[in-house]
């Protein structure tokens, strides 16, 4: 069984999420592990996590999902790949189902664990917006997966990947990008090992400095609850929850968030949850591993200080 992984690059290197996708592919492959990667992505890391061969293509400008799908489908056909793996991202989540249509494949999104081969090809994914999980059997000969962060342990395979140049035919897109606003240098919510989120309990956008300071200390991304993004205290792309971004970090710290069911749905697959809230009855404490009842304005600076002394 050959496996194909689509690599996204950032600062001339494969994104960390793409390396997780490689590790996932290497763990299930019984044949070749092939990566299809833009030529600006350094290939050393790909071999390290188990890629046998890299198909390098040259890109000019940003790819649309239709173009990614076309590149990946052509690579999958050329390599007779039976499993195609994407790391979850906004673009990949759209490209994966398109690849599914091109290849006549079964598609599963938000996969959180390794497949179970004892019952065919069965993957586990979240449903009901984080309130439950389901195991889904993928029936078609080809499978396309988009995997969530932490779906696999990173195991080094120490291979050296063979590089092949790859020239898929890619049609131009009718979509024109007029303007891009993106904060660079920040850790992305979906990539972060640690997320610090603030809620209405922080009383106003002017109090986010201490959240950012805590996040910086922990090398964490910052998030917020829905009311906070609705009131424009924070940008929409920081909204964590059922109708926002769903995160699965190692550590999620919620400050001044009461824990509405819709917010919990977005964080339920976090490994460890810390809740800091002045209301001892906040429902979030029931979904947390560690809790502090008290005034965030008092606790957060002290917590940050204590962390600085330890880390």
């Amino acid at each position: 069984m050959n496996v194909l992984i689509y690599i996204e690059s950032e600062n001339n290197a494969p994104k960390k999420s793409s390396l997780e996708a490689v590790a996932y592919g290497a763990a299930i492959a019984k044949g070749q592990v092939v990566a299809v990667a833009p030529s600006d992505a350094d290939t050393t890391e790909l071999g390290k996590y188990g890629v046998d061969k890299v198909l390098q293509f040259t890109v000019s400008g940003k790819l649309e999902a239709t173009q990614v799908a076309s590149i990946v489908a052509q690579a999958a056909q050329a390599q007779s790949a039976e499993v195609v793996i994407f790391a979850k991202s906004i673009l990949n989540d759209l490209a994966a189902p398109m690849v599914g249509v091109h290849l006549g494949a079964s598609v599963a999104s938000n996969v959180i664990e390794m497949p179970d081969f004892s019952k065919g090809f069965v993957v586990k994914r979240g449903v009901f917006s984080g309130k439950a999980y389901t195991e889904v059997a993928l029936n078609n000969a080809i499978k396309v997966l988009s995997i969530k962060k932490n779906a696999v342990a990173m195991t080094e395979k120490g291979k050296t990947a063979v590089i092949e140049s790859f020239s898929p035919s890619v049609a131009a897109s009718t979509i024109t990008i007029k303007e891009t606003t993106q904060k660079t240098g920040d850790i992305l919510l979906t990539d972060a090992d640690i997320v610090v989120s603030g809620g209405r309990g922080l009383k106003g956008p002017e109090h986010w400095g201490m959240i950012e300071e805590l996040a910086k200390t922990l090398n964490a991304a910052t998030g917020c609850s829905k009311p906070v993004s609705d009131m424009d205290w924070r940008p929409h792309h920081e909204h964590v929850g059922q109708t926002g971004i769903k995160v699965s970090p190692n550590l999620y710290i919620a400050v001044g968030i009461s824990g509405a069911i819709q917010h919990l749905a977005g964080v339920s697959s976090s490994k460890t949850i810390v809740v800091i809230n002045k209301d001892a009855d906040a429902p979030f404490f029931k979904a947390a591993d560690y809790g502090i009842v008290g005034d965030a304005f008092d606790i957060i600076p002290k917590f940050t200080e204590a962390l600085k002394n330890t880390l």
């Binding site: 398109m98 309130k131 195991e135 979509i175 990008i177 792309h237 190692n250 490994k271 502090i292 962390l307």
Partner: protein, 243 residues
Amino acid sequence: MKILICISHVPDTNAKIPFKDGKPDLAGLTFVIAPYDDFALARAVELRDQTAGKLTVLCVGKADTEPTIRKALAIGADDAIRVDAEPTDAFFVATQIAEIAKQNQYDMILMGRESSDYNGGQVHGMVAAMLGLPCIVPCMKLDLNGNVATMYREIEGGKEVVELPTPFVAGCQEPIAEWKIPNMRGIMTAKTKPLKVVSPVATAISTQVASYEVPAARSNCKMIDAANVGQLVELLKNEAKVI
């Protein structure tokens, strides 16, 4: 402008999902238009008004979805199509939507970025691939100037302003429009608006749910005294081992 809005009929997102015999037991729950679809519907009504166009609502589901479809008609859709079948998976639903779209040539096919029940987020991408159309997800703003649409789409850590001509597919999310609540006149007229029931086209079964699992509740929240944040640092480091 001919607009198609595709909706899912899902349990109210405030509801706790009960499980019985290892399956979701949805019988007692209130059903709604999936929240993201509801945002897309609200904007679709505005764009229909602006272009003096026609808005068709499409739902793949059995007869129990009709109250949800009538609600979309009450909010402002002109007519409805129900594909009479259980929406078994994204590929099945996308196949049905693409079939209806081929027959009717819509300028825009809108839906939510994902449903709140199975959270696949695949239908828009599949429909676009089946029809050879461009697709924008997640679309947070959608304005029309003639047949050219300007949209905001979310990207990791920010947003992009994009432009493209119709036809296209878009998976929408807030703040594309405010949810609309049907008024009495809407509710009355919805009863007589056309709702056509069609049979599904056959497809192979691409994916099947094998089993469900309810995540274990976090057993016990360990409470730490507010005066002793050092203990939290200690526990995160040595017990949880996450820092």
